[in-house]
């Protein structure tokens, strides 16, 4: 039943967008002029390409995030049963957790957390 509900939600989302866009396209007024489709840049034509190489600074954080996120994913199953595992569960995960914290400390020391 749950997976069916998931499908229902997905279909609902798509239907919502399709329906609204359909209404909009069907009845909205339209006008045409040569400048309408051009990029908006405060009223001045754009110079050069907008799609060009972008600074690595943004991606660095994405990569950092990936690393930490994947590692927290591994923590979730453990988290649900840590109460039952008790001290053993805590100690065994501490190693993993230590690696995580060391990773952050390393990134910090390397200056990867500074915005450049």
């Amino acid at each position: 039943m749950n997976f069916m509900m998931l499908v229902v939600a997905v279909i609902t989302a798509i239907a919502l967008v399709v329906a609204a866009l359909f209404i909009a396209k069907a009845i909205s007024p339209r006008s045409f002029n040569p400048q309408k489709g051009e990029a908006y840049e405060c009223g001045i034509p754009t110079r050069g390409k907008s799609w060009m190489q972008f600074r690595v600074g943004y991606y660095l954080f994405a990569i950092l995030f990936l690393m930490f996120d994947v590692e927290t994913v591994f923590l979730f199953p453990w988290a649900t049963i840590v109460g039952e595992l008790g001290v053993n569960g805590l100690i065994s995960i501490l190693f993993f957790f230590g690696v995580l914290i060391l990773g952050l400390a390393y990134a910090w020391k390397k200056g990867a957390l500074e915005w450049k």
Partner: protein, 358 residues
Amino acid sequence: MFDFSIVSSWIHGLLTGFMPEGLAIFLECVVIGVCIMLMYAVLAIVLIYMERKVCAFFQCRLGPNRVGKYGLMQVFADVFKMLIKEIITLKNSDRLLYNLAPYMVILASILSFACLPINKGMEIINFNIGVFFLMAASSIGVVGILLAGWSSNNKFTLIGAMRSGAQIISYELSVGLSILTMVVLTGTMSFSEIVEGQADGWNIFKGHIPAVIAFIVYLIAGNAETNRGPFDLPEAESELTAGYHTEYSGMHFGFFYLAEYLNLFIVSGVAATVFLGGWMPFHVSGLDGFNAIMDFIPGFVWFFAKAFFVVFLLMWIKWTFPRLRIDQILKLEWKFLVPISMFNLLLMVLIVVFGLHF
């Protein structure tokens, strides 16, 4: 306590009484779909109205009051207008991605919206890994934002998209860690079980210090997730004109607008569910009379009341603080929130392992 599953099974029984099971289930699905859609739209409208009124009162103004009584119809007029506004086709955009972006954003918010338990027995998607699913679903949204910014072929949108890429995914980490902290306390990832587990006290009281820290971290990170001030960098009005959705018009823009408010509600709803007991009434042990009265109030009222309380908190923050700068936002996340929530997680584990919680 009112259990909504009685209603749903009654409807199911009624329908299967005079039609084949398959058709009945299909019909139910359609009804649920329509309900989601309606609730989604109505909630968005209520939230937009609330935002406009709340900020007006913070700013010594009146807010909308001409369209309908107390301006109640104002947002309807806005949505209606947006629906019949022209949708601009761009010349040099990446058509496919440009049109795909609103779908992604809406999909993400409806999927995560469907996870919220509104009342006992009234959760649409109820996985045993609900928390996990919600985080996965909501992170689709950032893809939509990135696509929108990239595909428009506009410099402002591109910077907006890049900012949101760096910001939203960074804060996802803190959201994840603070929820993980609570999962340690509750011992389950299913939303309905999390709420059931709070019958004898809300998590924020049960988990005391680490729970409060997790709540605060969650509020900050959740606020950043929804792109709302002081973290509204991807659409910083005074810097990037309209940010990643600069090139979207009419209903295309309307979807981003709706999704933004719904995401606000989802963040608040999760906070209400995980920390504040969801649809569970407020109980004080020992005061049976008081508890009985509290039980009399239906669960969805509790849920919405708590969620809107958190919504109000977030609005309060938005209308008070100035905007941060991109490097400060990332510094706040990586140098403060992540280490804090990591140690908070350890603290919570210690408390749970040694049974120090209530």
